[in-house]
Amino acid sequence: MSEQVSLEKVIEDVAVELLRISATNLPTDVFNAMKDIKSRAKTDSSLLQITNIIDDATLARDESKPMCQDTGIVSFVLKIGDDFPLKSKLKDILIAATRRATKEIPLRPNTVDLFLGNPGDNVGYRGHIPYFYIDIIPGDKLKITAMTKGGGSSNIAKLGMLKPGLGLDGALKFAIDAVAEAGPAGCPPYRVGIGIGGGEDMCMNFAKKALLRPIGKRHEDPKVAILEEAVMEACNILPIGPMGVGDGDTVIDVNINLAARHPASLPVGIVMSCWALRHGSAIISRDGTFEYKDYLE
């Protein structure tokens, strides 16, 4: 019993820390991508904007404060080992961690209820938030990723239920359209996740999870990898640039996740992250030892 209680405490503490890492520490590869973009900026406006972004991310890391005031609707990706001792209880622990993180970091209270207003705790009155993406895996470990994705870049997400006859060509052009239409609205440079196949909800899910790949990590299928690079190149000739000032890189990276589709459907989900692409991961063992990771796998 006492061992279990202490494991619960470890998970809660680690989850609070992951939310802190996510909100305050821009992943190193994203930070380096910003520096590369700065080196390519041609106009004053572009240089001023990307410099502000880098300075802000540096301040956040040094002062352990949220780099953006919008710390999003909190979500957790959970991969639960067959032999990890806690399962359904994880939700309660992570809800408690979210409440604590909201006060301690602090996170902005974002869970607005349409009837009851904002309870101020990032949990809300009706369940569902924080949101959990749950998978079960072999082994005895728990793998957690915390995400604090801002609302501005969620507002530019797109779902397309395309005619199958349009094929991959249509799907990838839909992604280019989404980036072009987003323009400055979601705080570029963007990370673009493209989910193709599955169904209307699945493709959005695949697209969101594509944002969790390390920058530059291509799809395992070399054909898809070529398409990821092509969409990135295509988006980067659009004159949007950092914060939409019209010059410089528009996207940081593009990642595609593919699934089988129904013969009558071609679902395409586009999920974008703002420059502040925020997440934090950890692997927790059943004995309570843990390790923080930039990326899982």
Binding site: S45, N52, A180, A230
Partner: protein, 207 residues
Amino acid sequence: MAIYKFTLPLTDEQVKSLKVGDNIYVTGKIVTARDDAHKHALAMYNKGETLPVDFKTLGIYHAGPIMAKNENDEWYMVAGGPTTSNRMEIFQDTFIEAFGSNLIIGKGGMGARTTAAMHKFGAVYGMFTGGAALLAANQVKEVVEVHWFDILGMPECLWVLQVEEFGPLMIGIDAHGNNFFTENEKITMAKKPEAYKIVEQALEAVK
């Protein structure tokens, strides 16, 4: 394109001198106002009620900050970058007309209604780096007043802030009817066929 440093409120001459693409830094008082604050302010104005602040003298900042109290029970800004301005497009023209504000600060640009009002009444839109919440907080020197906290909550209420060299703000809409963002959107859309071509070639290569 030029870079200027101004003290708030901006004079009519300063407003007129600015062109889209210029960058400015401002020192003086600004007030946060987003969706609910715009709605509430206009509702009070329409009922003839007295507003708690004079929006004419303040830069209007589209932002919903994280605020906290220090050990002396005084408010300070933890993080406070701009929010997406386009949500205020439905209010901004009547807001400018009603209150005479001449500097709107936000991110992402605004549309035709705001552009027309800025042209007619003499105002500019300055874009602060989206997400740069700590830079913004560092440029806030004092929380002067807070209004409507009890009714609108932390992100939506009016925070009157003394700021120093707040910026850079890229002028996205000037007082001469120019809108950088809507013009750039046209250029972006015109570029799409060329972007499509890159994807078509890649698809050909992986066939």
